[in-house]
Every structure is written in structure tokens, then in C-alpha cells.
């Protein structure tokens, strides 16, 4: 049985998760704990004139007037022309979206805290709300931040246009709108804060992806030193980007704990999640593609808008989605003319933050819709057009026209495998006859590259106030020969307790049950920007590898002495220091080091068996996994309902540390992508009021809507990373909308109608079919 790199080891953490023994923020119980409920803005845009607090609640309700020494959250990347937003912890002056927090109410139970919140009344002078990203850019639009003069956070542009394409044989233009939706981790946000008198710090237990960034953010807002703040991120039930920011509630609760002297807690409820606490994915594309008659792509022009919401979140910033659109829209394709403007627009809605795949599900849909349209004009299979525009494998590594460095792989082979697995040929045959149940079937394939594990330079250019650099890991041998790994990254579903152990096992050979991973506490782990952007296995795993290698060298030195040979003659494997036929266990090495130091040589490294090492990939432009998603769908033309009949993912994720966990990542991501494609949208009315407050009004795909996803792997190592690992946590969520849209439109192809706006609701599909109905046959 193999346990190292490449083994599908059962996740160590699953034992506690599956038995209900995980420890989440909501599971912490402590003496004197009180609960918090917030008074939130009922309107999207208004001047806040007064907060009226009944006299009897004076001592348990707090507003901006109380938080005088607390600084607002500012996330202003050093980008030219970026307009700053300052997000007050509790609203002051103006409210800029429904759900913005205005007052904080504390009581022994949440129900009582909500009673108090109910009794607080607001004097609001309503202002016209900016609710549409395109209208927000029109002259004369109301302004979210008056001092800006317009509603644009920042604009990114690319302009590489060498040829005159006015005579191109094929020119196609598409307008695409993707829906604003929620991220819906199983566990919402939650915060417990208290003063730890023994450690003399403020301790904040929060459901976050990155405890150190929260620590830095709290330090900036509260004026405390890092040493005065400890952030613990315990078990976290899914992040997906939703927990990759400093949220106001964390600052507010931290302040409250210091003020009140007893522990306080806030747990996000479903209504807060749906209506108030960050959305994702809302883009608009006006995109044009030029191609030769035989489907060779010549150029892409695009104007894209991102509805970034009212504030720039810390530290992701409102710039990242627009930056990615301008930067990643060319996708996997080879062409020479590219023009793109991408604007991050402020509106009176809650902030948009990067969700799994960040902007790329929209980007993939936009470029793939163009490829499909070119295929129709050229009279070719959509996959054939894609194949004609891909990087040939012999040209890898390849720099695309924006100098994106595709590190390795064989894109055409990946696509060919998907075509074969979904069996396009057989589907084309089946489509020649009507389905017995009256439905129409269609096939769609999307292809994309997934830049992951981005390094410092890439992220600095997209704009972030906190830019990741080197990742560190501390690895030590305990006195009884077990291994303890301390990392700054945070696993909230990724299975790092298992995969990091596999990396250390690969190098040290210690049984993975004897390797413990410690994470999620600023007191015990190296500072890290932690886990997002598919970076942990490359950077964190790289650091674990380096530290394990260093530890192996230290152990080898002691082991060689014990074996009475030179260090050049030994190597570490299978939990032993080995010299030819003789060996000494790491357990014995550890015992001597910790308990019998009199038996050590004089010149032994006094650093011992507890090491910290850092890692940065040989090239930090990011790894490029890639995948083809193929969907076979049935569209019921009478009801507009779409069923997914078959779904294939062919993915090249580089060297896979744990293929079973990778399959889980792909399945989970694909389920979310199906949500983006078919179901998920937070509806808003014209006044900026979100209309979903329970899961009755907000649909996520469930067990019966997610098909059995067939996953096929390719494994081309990255030439630049430890073990050739690539980042692949997000791709699953990127491909589905484009594949499903393509498949649905394939099903409707003989009606000559097309649906591109997300999600593909029955209403949209029926409306499209309606346009194809002959006049007079009204319904």
C-alpha cells in the first residue's frame, strides 16, 4: 500500500467530520458567552440620519458613534486610477446596500438579540439606487461614492491589434450576462471573540480561509499589534472565496469583546448570507470574434463590466475580477489580435468577491460562446474549431499573446479524449431522430486553462493590498519519532491534513497516521496568505516538502553517527536512516536527539529535528491546469427544463498528490458550476432589494440535479514546481456554464435560437423557443 504522492489515501479528517465531531465556530461554548444580532440597512442607498435606540437597550446596542477609534476597512490596491472605498465597520453617513450593518445588539441569546434589533429604528433619507452595472456607467447616474465623480472602481485594458480584420470571413458578436449569485458554503460565516487574559491578547475564532490576513486586517482597523491579536480558524465548512476576506462582523465582534470583557458570538444565518454578505459572478460581456472561413481565430474584441457592488473587500479588492477578464479572456486559444476593456463598476449591492474560479466561469462562457458561433458559421463541429486554435503540444511551454506562460500539457489530446468519452459521433446519430419523450438533446464541450497557484508578480499586477510571497512550513520530529507539520495555509475541505502528510511521507517514509498537520491558528503557524486561488498544494505542499527534506538531512546526520558511517553514505526512507544493510529508525534518532543527547556527536547541528523552510516555485507565473467539460443535456421544449444526461471532465492537473481528493474537488466544483449555469441567482428588484431570503427563493443543485460526473485524468507535471504539482481547486466550477449553455443551444439548434444569459432558467429557454414559433401560434 502506497501512502505518498499519487496515493488515493482516505482523508484523515473524514473520521471526525463524518461522525459529527468536527469543531466549527458554532461548536465553541464558553462561560459568559453572549450573542450578537445586527441591525441591517433595509434599503440599498440612503443617508443615515439617525439610529434610534430605546432607552432600555442603551447599554446593549452599539453604533458607529461607539466605534470612534475603529478604522474603516480600506482595500485599495496600488493600481493607477483605482478609486478607494472606505467600508465603515458600522454604517455612518450613508448606507450603500441592503444588509449593510448599522448597529450591533448583544444579548444572552440570539433570539433576544434579534428582539433588541427589532426595537431599534432608523431614520433614513432614501437616495436613488444604482442597481445595474451598465446604467451605472451612464452619465447622470446616481453615485455610490459621490466623491468619485463616477461609479467605476478601476478599468483594465489590453490592446494588441496588429491586423485589419474588417474583411474577416467570419465575424460574430455576442452579448452575455452572468447572474449575481451566492457562494453557499455548508457552514456560513461566524465569529467568536474574547479577551484572553492569560495570553494577554484578543482571540478571534472565525470561519475564515486565512487567519493571518484577518489578523493583519484587525490590526489595521483596531490599532492593535499583531502580538495582541490571535486568530483561530477551526474546522471550516467550505470557503470558496466567501471566507477569503476580512468581514465587518469580525472587526465589530473583536471590538465588542474588548469593550464588554465577555465572549461574544455571531453566526451568520441564511438570510444574511443570501441578502447581505457578498455575492459573486455578475458580469456583462459584449464580445466579438473574427475568424477565417475555416474557423481559424483571428481576433477578439470585448467590453466587459463587472458589478463589483458597493465596496472593495479586503484584501481581495474589487479589481480582481475585471483584471482577470482583461487578462485571461483569450483562454487557451492562439490568435494575434486582442482588444479588451474591463470595468469594475460600483453599485448599491453587497460586494462581489471572487468565488471558486474567480471570473473564469464567465470568461470561459464568453470565449466559448464565440467559438460555438464561429463553428456554426464555418459549418464545423464546435470541438473542431477549438482544436484548430489550440497550442500544439510540441510548443509547450507556451507564452500566449498576453505572455501567460502555459507550463506544460497537451490541450488537443485533452479535448479529443472528451469528445470520445461523451461520444459526440453517437450523439449526432441520435439527434437525427426525435426523442420518444419529446425532449431535445444537445451536446456541448467547453475547454479552458486554469491559471492557479499564482505567484507574487501575477497577483501584484492584479492588485491586492496583501500580496503572497514565500510559503513556509515547520516540520518537526517529536521525541517519540512522530512528525508534526505546522502550516499557515488553511484546509476547509481540501484535505490538507491528509495531503501534506502524504508529501512528508514521500520524503521521510513515516507512517501517515503518525504525521499530524497543525493549521488555523496564528499562534502556532507561520504567517501566510493561506488558502485561495488553488495555491496551497503547490506553495504549501512545496514548503512541506522543503522542510521535510531539511529535516531528513538533520536526521541523516544523527543517524549516520549512530550507524558509525559518514553522512554521505546514508539516506532517509521508510522512516529510517539507512546505510547499506543497516539502518536506524527515525524514532531512535528522535529519542537520542531529545532524550539521550550525550550520545550525539560534538558537531551536531543544534537546530535539531525541528525545522522551518520556505518555498517559492522556480517560476511564479502560476501553474496552468486545463480541462475539457462535456455535457449531454435534454431540454424539454414544453417546460423549458434542462436535465443533464451525461457529464464528462477530462482534466490535466499535473502530478496528483491524492487522486481521490482531486476527484472530490472536480465533482464539487462541477456541482457549483452547474449551479451557476442552471440555477443560481440572487434576484434584485429595481430598488436594489434582494428578493431571496431562504432557500425557497434561492436554488442550488442538489443530489438529484448533479449527474454522475465521469472524470478522466491526464497528468503532465509542471516543470517548475515541487513534484510537478499544479493548482486545481477551481477548474471544476469554471467549465460547466459554458458546456451546458453550448449543449442547450445545440439542442435548440434547428430552431435557430440561442440562450446565453445565466442562469438558463426555464423562462429564458421558453422565451427563446417562443421567438422561433411562427407568428399567430401564440401561447
Amino acid at each position: 500500500m502506497k501512502y505518498g504522492i499519487g496515493a488515493s489515501v482516505v482523508r484523515k479528517e473524514d473520521d471526525r467530520f463524518l461522525r459529527g465531531r468536527g469543531q466549527y465556530v458554532g461548536d465553541f461554548r464558553m462561560a459568559g458567552l453572549q450573542e450578537v444580532a445586527f441591525v441591517r440597512s433595509p434599503v440599498a442607498h440612503a443617508r443615515l440620519k439617525q439610529v434610534r435606540i430605546p432607552e432600555r437597550f442603551r447599554d446593549v446596542v452599539f453604533t458607529a458613534d461607539d466605534l470612534v477609534d475603529v478604522k474603516p476597512i480600506v482595500s485599495a490596491p496600488p493600481l493607477k486610477g483605482f478609486k478607494r472605498s472606505a467600508e465603515p465597520i458600522l454604517a455612518t453617513g450613508k448606507v450603500r446596500f441592503v444588509g449593510e450593518i448599522i448597529a450591533m445588539c448583544v444579548a444572552p441569546s440570539r433570539a433576544e438579540a434579534e428582539d433588541i434589533a427589532d426595537a431599534v429604528s432608523l431614520d433614513l433619507e432614501e437616495l436613488p439606487a444604482v442597481t445595474d452595472m451598465l446604467a451605472a456607467c451612464e452619465p447622470g447616474s446616481a453615485l455610490v461614492h459621490e466623491e468619485w465623480g463616477d461609479n467605476v472602481f478601476v478599468e483594465f485594458g489590453e490592446n494588441i491589434w496588429k491586423d485589419d480584420l474588417s474583411g474577416a470571413a467570419i465575424k460574430v458578436s455576442k452579448t452575455i450576462r452572468t447572474a449575481r449569485h451566492c457562494m453557499f458554503p455548508m457552514e456560513g460565516r461566524g465569529v467568536v471573540a474574547y479577551r484572553d487574559e492569560r495570553l494577554r491578547n484578543l482571540t478571534v475564532i472565525t470561519s475564515t480561509q486565512f487567519p493571518h490576513c484577518v489578523q493583519t486586517g484587525l490590526s489595521e482597523c483596531l490599532g492593535l499589534t499583531h502580538g495582541e491579536i490571535r486568530v483561530i480558524s477551526p474546522d471550516v465548512g467550505g470557503g470558496f472565496g466567501y471566507k477569503g476576506l476580512l468581514c465587518r462582523e469580525e472587526v465589530a465582534l473583536a471590538w465588542l469583546a474588548l469593550r464588554r470583557g465577555h465572549p461574544v458570538r455571531w453566526l451568520e444565518d441564511c438570510r444574511e448570507h443570501l441578502g447581505a454578505n457578498a455575492n459573486c459572478r455578475e458580469h456583462h460581456y459584449q464580445i466579438t470574434g473574427y475568424a477565417t472561413a475555416d474557423g481559424k481565430l483571428l481576433g477578439i474584441e470585448c467590453v466587459a463590466h463587472v458589478d463589483a457592488g458597493a465596496y472593495s473587500s479586503y484584501p481581495v479588492s474589487s479589481s480582481v475580477e475585471a483584471a482577470q477578464i482583461a487578462n485571461l479572456l483569450p483562454g487557451p486559444y492562439v490568435f494575434s489580435n486582442y482588444r479588451c476593456r474591463a470595468l469594475a463598476v460600483a453599485t448599491n449591492k453587497c460586494p462581489i468577491i471572487p468565488y471558486r474560479g474567480v471570473a473564469r466561469s464567465g470568461i470561459c462562457l464568453a470565449i466559448e460562446a464565440v467559438m460555438d458561433a464561429i463553428a456554426r458559421k464555418a459549418g464545423l463541429e464546435p470541438y473542431e474549431v477549438r482544436l484548430r486554435n489550440m497550442v500544439p503540444p510540441e510548443q509547450m511551454p507556451f507564452d500566449n499573446l498576453l505572455s501567460k506562460h502555459f507550463d506544460s500539457g497537451d490541450h488537443p489530446e485533452c479535448l479529443r479524449r472528451a469528445v470520445q468519452a461523451i461520444d459526440v459521433q453517437r450523439i449526432r446519430k441520435r439527434q437525427q431522430n426525435p426523442e420518444p419523450d419529446g425532449r431535445r438533446i444537445g451536446v456541448g464541450i467547453s475547454f479552458f486553462v486554469e491559471q492557479g497557484a499564482h505567484g507574487t508578480n501575477v497577483l501584484a499586477s492584479w492588485g491586492r493590498p496583501i500580496v503572497p510571497g514565500y510559503e513556509q512550513a515547520q516540520v518537526k520530529l517529536t521525541a517519540d519519532g512522530e512528525v508534526e507539520i505546522h502550516v499557515g495555509t488553511h484546509s476547509h475541505g481540501q484535505g490538507h491534513e491528509t495531503t501534506y502528510a502524504q508529501v512528508a511521507h514521500e520524503i521521510l517514509g513515516v507512517d501517515i497516521d503518525k504525521i499530524k498537520v497543525v493549521q488555523g491558528d496564528t499562534m502556532y503557524t507561520p504567517y501566510s496568505t493561506a488558502t485561495w486561488g488553488s495555491r496551497s498544494m503547490v506553495h504549501g505542499g512545496g514548503a512541506v516538502a522543503r522542510a521535510s527534506q531539511l529535516l531528513a538531512r538533520r536526521a541523516a546526520q544523527i543517524g549516520a553517527w549512530l550507524l558509525q558511517t559518514d553522512v554521505e553514505n546514508v539516506h532517509v526512507a521508510d522512516g529510517k536512516v539507512i546505510a547499506g544493510d543497516s539502518s536506524v529508525t527515525l524514532r531512535e534518532v528522535a529519542r537520542v536527539w531529545y532524550l539521550q543527547p550525550q550520545n550525539l556527536p560534538a558537531g551536531v547541528d543544534t537546530g535539531g529535528l525541528d525545522v522551518t523552510a520556505g518555498y517559492r516555485a522556480a517560476r511564479d507565473s502560476g501553474t496552468f491546469t486545463y480541462a475539457a467539460h462535456a455535457a449531454l443535456v435534454a431540454v424539454d421544449p414544453a417546460t423549458g427544463i434542462v436535465d443533464i444526461l451525461d457529464y464528462v471532465v477530462v482534466e490535466d492537473g499535473g502530478t496528483l498528490v491524492n487522486p481521490m481528493i482531486v476527484d472530490g474537488q472536480i465533482c464539487g466544483g462541477t456541482a457549483q458550476g452547474i449551479g451557476t449555469g442552471l440555477y443560481e441567482v440572487v434576484p434584485f428588484d429595481a430598488q436594489g432589494q434582494p428578493l431571496a431570503s431562504t432557500m425557497l427563493d434561492y436554488m442550488v443543485p442538489g443530489a438529484t440535479e448533479v449527474p454522475d460526473i465521469r472524470i478522466l485524468h491526464m497528468q503532465t507535471p509542471s516543470p517548475y514546481t515541487e513534484f510537478g504539482i499544479k493548482g486545481l481547486g477551481e477548474g471544476g466550477a469554471v467549465g460547466p456554464p459554458a458546456a451546458i449553455v453550448s449543449a442547450v443551444n445545440d439542442a435548440l439548434r434547428d430552431l435557430k435560437v440561442e440562450v446565453l444569459d445565466l442562469p438558463l432558467t426555464p423562462e429564458r429557454i421558453l422565451a427563446a423557443i417562443e421567438t422561433a414559433r411562427p407568428r399567430g401560434a401564440s401561447a
Binding site: 428582539d115 417562443e770 401561447a779
Partner: protein, 273 residues
């Protein structure tokens, strides 16, 4: 999302429930399974001063079979119906309706009477019981009365109960041996509320041919004589169905399309072979 404070009482007789309702003077709500009222309490959309739990009233949790009808206590759960615990024959199709309502966890608690009283236009029991011409048995301290389901539902979330009245049971006529029940709902995902639904009861031996269209914005649409929907061939006349839908206020074309699909499929199921 925690409810505002309320008093709670669990009663053991209909008379006591009625008395409590009367005393509370409009500030009390009955609760059975709580599958609709619970979320409304949590969202503070409902703020009763008193909740009266009627699931402890023995008569309300029983179903009794008669020759021509089954009388189902208002607090019989959807799960019990799914599990075919209604006595006798002629209403087997109710089990399949039940099986597709929400999720088992909801069905375990949710009751047939509670669903009817809640009068959500998209509720399966509302459409089904109107189609079957079920009778609602209502009691209060003043006495008893019987109201047909289609009159019991007054509109969206509106029922015919007076403030002190309790729906005690629903009497559902059995289909004869040749009778057919057709039912179809349009749902984007399993367990969700439907965006369109139709039920058709075709039972010539009892002289019944009724169709009901549910998931509207108000009262279900009742077509008492479904022959008016029929072509001479026996198939659904889509044009006249669309006209009915339009004249009964189904305004959007996509909603009409979906309702037409539901009706035509329910119609086909109810067509005698």
C-alpha cells in the same frame, strides 16, 4: 432568524383548541407539522402571541376508511400517506403525490391539513384535493360544517376558516375501479415548489371528469367538466386550454406554456385506456 417570543400550548381536544383560538382573539395560530409556519416564525413574518399545537388531539392523527370515501385527520402526515397508510383502495395515487412533496424530512412532519390551511397555491395537496373534490371538515365550539376543498381555498395563503375554527379532517372520495387520476408538476429540482401543476380526475362511473391547475398566483383553477378540454380524438385541445389559462389570469407566456405542459401530461395520464 429566530422567532419573536410566543406562548405555546399543546391541546388534547378540538374544543380546547377552538376555545384557545377564541380567547386569543386573532393573536393565536394553530401549528401542526410547522413546516411552513416554522420558517415564517423564524423570519418573523408570522408573530403570533400563542401557538396552539394540535398534533396531540387523537382524532386528528387518524384516517378512517368508509365505503365511498376516506376521512383523513388533518394532522396525518404526508409521510404516512406516502407509506400507503390510508385504508382501502381507490386512492393509491395519493401515495405518489406524497412521495414527490419536498423531502422526506419535511414529509415526516408536514401534515395534509396544515398544507391545506396554509393554502400555498403551489402546494401539492391544494391542487390534488381540489381535483378530487375533497370535503373539509371544520369544527369549532359553535358546531361543525363541511366545505369543499375548492371553496376552502379562498386565494393565495387564504382559507375559509373563521378565527375560532379548526380544520379537523379531509374527506376524500374514492375513485371507482375504472377511475384514473393524472398528476404532473413542473419542478426545476426535486423537492422544490412547482412552477406549474395540474391534476385530472377521470372517473366516468361516478360521473366525474375534473381538472385543476395549481401553482397559480391565487386560487387553483378548477375545470369542473374537463370534456371542454377534449378534442374529439380524446386528446387535450391545446388551443382551448391556452384560452382558459389566459382568461384565468396566467399572464406570462412561459407560465402558460408550463401549465399547458403540466395539464396535457396529467390529462394523458388520466385518459382511460
Amino acid at each position: 432568524m429566530k422567532p419573536a417570543s410566543f406562548e405555546f400550548v399543546r391541546v388534547t381536544s378540538v374544543a380546547e383548541a377552538s376555545r384557545q383560538l377564541k380567547q386569543a382573539n386573532g393573536t393565536a395560530r394553530l401549528v401542526a407539522g410547522g413546516q411552513s409556519l416554522g420558517p415564517m416564525l423564524n423570519l418573523r413574518l408570522a408573530r403570533p402571541a400563542l401557538l396552539i399545537d394540535i398534533t396531540g388531539i387523537p382524532d386528528l392523527i387518524e384516517a378512517h376508511g368508509g365505503e365511498d370515501a376516506v376521512t383523513v385527520g388533518a394532522c396525518v402526515t404526508t409521510a404516512a400517506i406516502e407509506d400507503k397508510r390510508l385504508p382501502g383502495r381507490g386512492l393509491e395515487s395519493l401515495a405518489s403525490v406524497a412521495m414527490n412533496i419536498a423531502y422526506r424530512a419535511v414529509r415526516n412532519r408536514g401534515t395534509i391539513g396544515g398544507s391545506l390551511c396554509h393554502a400555498d397555491p403551489s402546494a401539492d395537496w391544494v391542487t390534488t384535493l381540489c381535483a378530487l373534490d375533497a370535503q373539509c371538515l371544520i369544527a369549532s365550539e359553535q358546531g361543525n360544517r363541511i366545505v369543499p376543498a375548492h371553496q376552502f381555498i379562498r386565494g393565495a395563503y387564504e382559507n375559509a376558516l373563521a378565527p375560532d375554527e379548526v380544520l379537523t379532517a379531509i374527506k376524500i372520495p374514492r375513485l371507482s375501479a375504472r377511475g384514473r387520476f393524472g398528476y404532473y408538476k413542473v419542478c426545476r429540482k426535486a423537492g422544490e415548489f412547482a412552477s406549474a401543476m395540474a391534476a385530472v380526475v377521470h372517473d366516468p362511473d361516478r360521473g366525474v371528469y375534473r381538472a385543476v391547475i395549481g401553482a397559480t398566483r391565487g386560487k387553483p383553477i378548477l375545470i369542473e367538466d374537463a370534456r371542454e378540454l377534449q378534442q374529439p380524438t380524446g386528446k387535450l385541445n391545446e388551443m382551448s386550454a391556452l384560452q382558459i389559462l389566459e382568461s384565468r389570469g396566467i399572464a406570462s407566456s412561459s407560465a402558460r406554456r408550463q401549465q399547458l405542459a403540466a395539464l396535457s401530461r396529467a390529462f394523458a395520464q388520466a385518459t382511460l385506456q
